[in-house]
């Protein structure tokens, strides 16, 4: 049984009222949703918030899903859109925020990664990623971490393949520069 036919079956079961099918879909994609949101936002708490939002959207909209694209493409699209919207709202909140820096630091310490070395490496990369534009970061993550083809990324983002290649190129160039700066 292929992955997409399995998804099709799970979605149909959920539409006919099987709540367990929804749980299976979540179990299958939860890591991908979390890590995509985490790399887009750069911290665990924001990623957790986005994961919950994405699951809510999935639950409410899955009944109208017509398999015009694959389920994982659709899930990535929701996660990407939610992440970008979340970051925009967060930036606005920070402009008008009265929250002190200490509270923000305490919050950002919460994590699900226990290995200190990996955590440091991750934080370093997250810091770099947050310095590049959202759309470039999105393409970089989908290409590098999720290992998707440009055709698949085009389906998720709705952008042309040429534009995506240009985005990836600029993202990679900036990341290389920022990594070198951080080393120095």
């Amino acid at each position: 049984m292929t992955e997409s036919s399995n998804d099709f079956e799970l979605v149909n079961k959920f539409i006919s009222g099987d709540e367990g099918a929804f749980n299976k879909i979540v179990l299958k994609y939860q890591q991908k949703i979390y890590w995509h949101a985490r790399r887009m936002t750069g911290n665990h708490l924001d990623a957790d918030e986005i994961v919950q939002e994405v699951l809510m959207v999935l639950y409410e909209k899955l009944k109208n899903f017509q398999f015009k694209s694959s389920l994982y493409t659709w899930i990535y699209r929701i996660t990407t859109t939610r992440s970008i919207n979340f970051l925009r709202k967060k930036n606005l909140r920070q402009i008008f925020s009265f929250e002190d820096k200490e509270t923000k630091l305490v919050k950002s310490k919460e994590d699900i990664v226990n290995n200190i070395e990996v955590k440091e490496r991750l934080e370093k990369l997250e810091k770099v990623l947050l310095q590049i534009p959202d759309r470039q970061r999105e393409v970089f993550i989908l290409r590098n971490f999720d290992e998707l083809s440009y055709e698949e990324i085009a389906q998720i983002t709705g952008k042309s393949i040429g534009g995506l290649k240009a985005n990836y190129f600029h993202a990679m160039k900036k990341i290389m520069e920022l990594m070198k700066e951080n080393e120095n």
Partner: protein, 204 residues
């Protein structure tokens, strides 16, 4: 770090076959390009080390229960505005009905009070002059005036101990015209005498 942009295109597979062959030839001959290529791959290797990170398993185990809890809460929060809206509508309808009921009740009370008052005034006032003041003929129909006159007549008859015929004689217009003719025919001397006679008589 300034990187040869061709490295990105080469690694990402964005080169044509000719470009790729040309780049690979230069990579072999140029130490500088080879060094850049090595650094680029080191960065990519660093990035790939955080591709599959081991995490607390508990977090992912709790993801669905957490979602279910939130979903239930959201559903409850959705119901609250609906309840509030329904309560407001019901309250508005109730207030509307109560207000209208009071208004119609008030009108009904006023109407019945005026009818009772009228009845009381007709039945209880034996004093003819007081009763006469109670009647407002301006707002009455012909039938009502006729009824009022008959009531007045009956009271007059009763109070003055008259027969209906004698009352007619006393109040008829032709009698008044006769009286006027009679008064006009009296001279000054006769009038003085009549006046003196009236003063001597005790009427009441």
């Amino acid at each position: 770090m300034k990187i040869d942009e061709r490295i990105i295109l080469y690694v990402d597979g964005q080169m044509t076959e000719d470009e790729k062959a040309s780049f690979e030839r230069e990579l072999k001959s140029s130490k500088e390009l080879a060094e850049d290529f090595k650094k680029y791959n080191l960065v990519l290797s660093d990035i790939s080390k955080v591709k599959n990170v081991s995490t607390e398993n508990e977090y992912f185990l709790q993801m669905i229960p957490k979602f279910r809890g939130r979903f239930e809460l959201k559903r409850q929060l959705k119901i609250i505005p609906k309840i509030a809206f329904s309560v407001t509508i019901i309250a508005a309808v109730l207030i509307f009905f109560i207000f209208n009921f009071n208004k119609s009740n008030k009108n009904l009370t006023q109407t019945s009070t005026s009818t009772v008052n009228q009845n009381i005034s007709v039945n209880n006032y034996s004093d003819l002059s007081t009763l006469a003041d109670q009647f407002n003929f301006s707002g009455m129909s012909n039938e009502e005036i006729s009824n009022s006159n008959s009531i007045l007549d009956s009271l007059l008859i009763e109070e003055l101990d008259l027969t209906p015929q004698s009352l007619n004689n006393m109040t008829a217009d032709n009698n008044n015209s006769d009286l006027n003719n009679l008064v006009q025919g009296i001279n000054e001397k006769e009038a003085d005498q009549i006046y003196k006679e009236i003063l001597k008589k005790k009427i009441y």
